[in-house]
């Protein structure tokens, strides 16, 4: 069975610092996608970044980047120069092609002023 594990239930960092959220997953498949979703207090789920498993290059979206280690089945999210608006729940998610998305339990991130 496919699973996604986020080992950090809650984290706090000072504004402007860099923070890394960890995620590991388990699958025997070779082709899949990985995502990080953000859910701010407004509750709207927002796609932050996605990574195709067949791509070795780590995905980057402005201040957000991932460290994708396929052999280790690790997919961490790095937020650089963190901002107050980054305060949210962050969910790591995983999908096999033509299958349903599986979410981790989430990491609550607080950016402190």
């Amino acid at each position: 069975a496919q699973t996604v594990t986020q080992s950090q239930p809650e984290m706090s960092v000072q504004e402007a610092e860099t923070v890394t959220l960890s995620c590991t997953y388990d699958t025997s498949e070779n082709n899949y996608y990985l995502f990080w979703y953000k859910q701010p207090p407004s509750r709207q789920m927002i796609l932050v970044i996605r990574q195709e498993a067949y791509k070795q290059q780590n995905a980057t979206e402005n201040r957000f980047s991932v460290n994708f280690q396929k052999a280790a089945k690790s997919f961490s999210l790095k937020i650089s120069d963190s901002q107050l608006g980054d305060t949210a729940m962050y969910f790591c998610a995983f999908i096999l092609r033509d299958d349903k998305i599986i979410f981790g339990k989430g990491t609550r991130l607080h950016i402190l002023p």
């Binding site: 986020q6 239930p9 996608y33 995502f35 407004s42 509750r43 709207q44 789920m45 796609l47 996605r50 969910f91 999908i95 092609r97 033509d98 349903k100 998305i101 599986i102 979410f103 981790g104 339990k105 989430g106």
Partner: protein
């Protein structure tokens, strides 16, 4: 701009009531999903649908049913609400064979 609309943001119901949660998307997406979100448990898939009148059970379908009579609308039904169904319910949609989900703003359901 893409939009997934859930009819209620907050809902309070009594045990034993029949509850309908409505979700409408305006993107002509084939796929629609219902998740429930609970603290410490993340998002868990209840039901999903790949086409009109089609439905598939997710990971936690017990106590729920769904209806998809039209492509744009996917309803989640609690036949007899129970207190353990108090939760945040999120609807999502996606294009066929696309991995990108678009979410609604959620319905916080309290069953008393």
């Amino acid at each position: 701009d893409v939009k997934v609309t859930q009819s209620s943001r907050y809902l309070v119901k009594r045990t034993g009531e029949k509850v309908f949660l409505e979700c409408v998307q305006d993107m002509d997406h084939e796929n629609m999903f219902w998740y429930r979100q609970d603290p410490g448990l993340g998002l868990r898939l209840i039901y999903f649908s790949y086409d009109v009148k089609m439905k598939e059970k997710g990971d936690i379908p017990e106590g729920y049913s769904v209806s998809r009579e039209k492509k744009e609308r996917f309803s989640l039904i609690l036949e007899s609400a129970s207190t353990n169904q108090t939760s945040m319910y999120l609807c999502a949609s996606s294009e066929w064979a696309s991995e990108k989900l678009f979410f609604g703003s959620g319905t916080q359901l309290s069953v008393l």
